[in-house]
Symmetry: C2
Subunit: 287 residues, 2 copies
Amino acid sequence: MEIIERIKDMQAYSQDLRVEGKVIALVPTMGYLHEGHLSLMREGRKRGDVLVASVFINPTQFSPNEDLDKYPRNFERDRDMMEEVGVDVVFHPRANDVYPEGYQTFVTVDDVSKNLCGLTRPTHFRGVATVVAKLFNCVLPHIAIFGRKDYQQVKVIERMVRDLNMDVGIIGMPIVREPDGLAMSSRNEYLNPKERKAALSLYKAILIVRELFENGERRIGALTDRAIGVIMTEDLARIEYVKLAHPENIDELVGVVWDRALLALADYIGETRLIDTPVLGEEFENC
Amino acid sequence: MEIIERIKDMQAYSQDLRVEGKVIALVPTMGYLHEGHLSLMREGRKRGDVLVASVFINPTQFSPNEDLDKYPRNFERDRDMMEEVGVDVVFHPRANDVYPEGYQTFVTVDDVSKNLCGLTRPTHFRGVATVVAKLFNCVLPHIAIFGRKDYQQVKVIERMVRDLNMDVGIIGMPIVREPDGLAMSSRNEYLNPKERKAALSLYKAILIVRELFENGERRIGALTDRAIGVIMTEDLARIEYVKLAHPENIDELVGVVWDRALLALADYIGETRLIDTPVLGEEFENC
């Protein structure tokens, strides 16, 4: 497994691979890997001749009041896990090289960024789209693999790729959960034992909404109210949003669910912000 | 000479060329070609194995009140001129394919877009950066060639390329002028004979500033005041700006010129907006 830090080196490496006709698969990460990331890498291992994983905590997707500085990191552990799962190249650039002095260019994806996390994190998806565009120009992947826990992020990236005519296939993979149902996230690390228990309220709400939905409930108010009720029984939980949204354009749904719907939950458990994003539909995806 | 209209066809064509190791040179245009465009294409002919010229009137760089609808066009004439100058491929996409329904992604280059034309055309450079990013993803050029009459545009594109890690060399070529000194522009077509004569006031102002500068004048007020005075003697001219700006970051200069300086002029002659952008320095470039 090779570790590449310099952008020019990564580009040269990938250009050679492309001339050789190799298929490059990219899994972008912010490190502090868990089983969710590894599931993306295993998929990349199957689909690409060469599997590149990037590890970069992207400052432009954090607001000044967010957890950039304390975001968990452990590169040695990440490296061992990537080696284990068959990553060929780790792209591990430095923030100063990715955003040098005078940096001033951003990619914005308007409509799909507005709802849900875009309401409280207005520059978050601009940072995501920008760094992904940059990573694509560094790694030159044929396909890139993302987790659908960050469901809105996947839609932002899909839209960017289509709109800017990037020739990269985007693959969204299902949420990976802990045995008790908590969606895996590097931020779960922040939870103390009491909070870890309280965090399960999101999944409990999801299961109850699923049951309602499977029993024929299609009224949006009835579905979201039940989810809210379940989460509010948990003292440590503070709801940011509980919404049903269109699974493609992320617009808020009103009235009833006609077809598929994204059940989008964002909650603070203590100081830790957690999200979960199953899709209601013929089958209950991501759950 | 091949004419390609579909984006997917252009990408497939360029991907094959890249596998063959051919150097692709791109000259992006909005058509209605003149000698300025042809000078870019001749440079591209020299530098690339394959010369692609794009012809696309980009709606996102026009404001609603601007001249998108009446922008001059004559594809048959353009085609003959491109054939003559040795273009290999004309990329001529349709607006509906470039910006399909639901389009919502934009590239913004902040600081360098703000001054000069950015003051009166606040979304212009966003449209330019966006379409150039898209053209690069369609044509996959190794180098792209732009005219320095649109000096600020060249700086926006250079900055975008550097910031987003696009592996494209940007080449800016000198202004090409009519025999009497008027900078060539497709918009010169709008001028009636009286206006055509009045348009020369920009060049007259440039020559006088050059003379002052060569005689040692470095005070910015003295230089711009003289240019303004010359243009104001022309009844048909209305000044939008006459400024000296930093030739790299396009910031406004104050006090005195220490080194090189962009002399940026934008004027309406009747209804027609014209710009000229020589650089004051050791040599008087672009003039």
